[in-house]
Amino acid sequence: MFESAALRTRRKIRDCVAQGLIYLAVMLVSLVFFWLLVDLARGGMTHLSWAFLTESPRDAGRAGGIASILVSTLLILLVALVAAIPLAWSTAILLAELVPAESSFGRSVRFSLHVLAGVPSIVFGLFGNAFFSIYLGLGFSILSGGLTLACMLLPILTSTAEAGLRAVPDSYRLSAAALGLSRTAALTHLILPAAAPALAAGLLIGIGRALAETAALLFTSGYVDRMPGSLLDSGRALALHIFDLSMNVPGGDESAYASALMLVILLLCINILAMKLAYGLQRKKIMT
């Protein structure tokens, strides 16, 4: 009896210690997260204004704003999406709807995309520099930066879209077949609209990934902070601007803080929107 009581108290102590350690870890992580956010907000708030967003940078970014940077970022993003979306979504439709999951073609495409998803971003930068900038002769330009990013986005856009299409219930496909619809018609009128929220969530995740990217753009879209005149001009992305200001420009800290705050706010909004879409999807699935 005595021994089992001792055992029980020992267990109770062990439980308490484990719980305490876990709460400590959680508090530490939350604390660091809020420390980071508060620090960015405090450093960036004073400098972030409408004028900062609408003026072009002067004096290597120490003065002025980030208007031309935002335009370049947007153009790079657009190029990446225009190049990646058709490829990614057609791959996803093919994998989810038209070829059997275990076919060798499907398996090899999926394997290749899986490997692509793991490639470090600096390696994408090396490839983009060798292929788009030099081999295809696009030079340091928004076009070669955007195309490099498109390669990076391909796996994430494909896998989210494929998962979304697979989540559409099979009864939709069976009913469409029973009504004599062709697969093309079933796809455009029924399955794609049903999967649209999942596609949108995947798209938002991809946009977030693209906005956060720095290393792949370092040697592809270049450093020039002027307003880009065409897609063949070099343009500096927002993330790269933060890097350059904090590493290479003494006295650029204030602008770097404001740019970092801007980027984090953008990404938080995009991620929260994507989460809302994804959670909404889950709820709908439970309801029906």
């Binding site: 439980d15 719980q19 791959t91 490639v119 600096i122 390696v123 720095t214 290393a215 980027l263």
Partner: protein, 280 residues
């Protein structure tokens, strides 16, 4: 039905193209690193006296050791924190707190590496430098990397823990196991494969991370003797020197990129194998 066939054709060529991109990347990396792999003695990457590309000394070892040390350090710190976070969400927190904390982890995962680097540079480096100058060091790189891979470990561990069948939990409860007894004796062993796969993927991410490490690690090419020595990782080296590298030097940078990619591919293949075994 003609439209169906046309559509399938179009989609098939799209899929083929996206599958070929991986091959294209490998081909171009090999093509660009070919001059160094054939023209320079391969043993030189291990035995050259130092890394002085302008004098044709290409010793990659100090940077490889820095890369590995930074990743191992980050994994050591992030694994307990990540698994504790996942346990908190699944077993310890009340439901509203659990979903709140899960959101926090997901948002942490969305913060770009350059912002982590910037924060490390303006906050962590001065703090470390007060304690042990110069501040920009292996330790700073480890801490920033920890923050970056922690969400990944926490999310994969959460998925693995949530997939543990309820029966196991009920059996453990029926046997009168305490909460920690259940977790340590039943849940963690059952979720081991998934958690390990997540850790391996996080290690791959840490090996390839460039910007954050570049901004806080100090970038001196050397074997670090302590946590407070500045170091340069392979990825950071590529980012630093690519802008002016020519000829053999450029080619050696592509070799180090290739090396990095092979390391990461080996790790992700390991994670894939683990996942497969779990489903059998």
């Amino acid at each position: 039905m003609l439209t169906d066939r046309v559509l399938t054709g179009i989609l098939r060529s799209g899929a083929l193209l996206s599958a070929l991109i991986m091959l294209l990347i490998l081909c171009f990396l090999l093509l660009e690193s070919w001059p160094a792999l054939t023209g320079l003695p391969v043993a030189g990457f291990l035995t050259d006296p130092s890394w002085h590309p302008l004098e044709s000394a290409y010793n990659l070892m100090p940077m490889l050791s820095a890369t590995l040390l930074a990743s191992i350090g980050a994994i050591t710190l992030a694994v307990p924190l990540g698994i504790a976070s996942a346990l908190f969400i699944v077993f310890f927190a009340p439901s509203h707190l659990a979903s709140l904390y899960k959101r926090l982890i997901e948002l942490l995962a969305g913060i770009p590496s350059v912002v982590f680097g910037f924060w490390g540079l303006t906050v962590l480096v001065p703090l470390i430098s007060e304690w042990q100058p110069p501040g920009a060091s292996l330790l700073a790189a480890v801490l920033v990397l920890t923050l970056m891979i922690l969400p990944m470990i926490a999310i994969t561990a959460y998925t693995a823990l949530a997939a543990v069948p309820d029966e196991l939990l009920q059996n453990a409860a029926a046997l009168g196991l305490s909460r920690w007894g259940t977790i340590a004796g039943v849940v963690l062993p059952a979720a081991r494969a998934g958690i390990t796969a997540g850790i391996i993927l996080a290690a791959a991410r840490a090996l390839g991370e460039t910007m954050a490490v570049l901004m806080v690690a100090g970038n001196v090419v050397q074997h670090p003797e302590s946590l407070f020595d500045p170091v340069r990782t392979l990825a950071a080296n590529i980012a630093l020197e690519m802008a002016y590298a020519m000829g053999d030097h450029r080619s050696v940078l592509f070799v180090s990129g290739l090396l990095l990619m092979l390391l990461v591919m080996a790790l992700s293949a390991m994670a894939g194998l683990l996942e497969k075994h779990r489903h059998v």
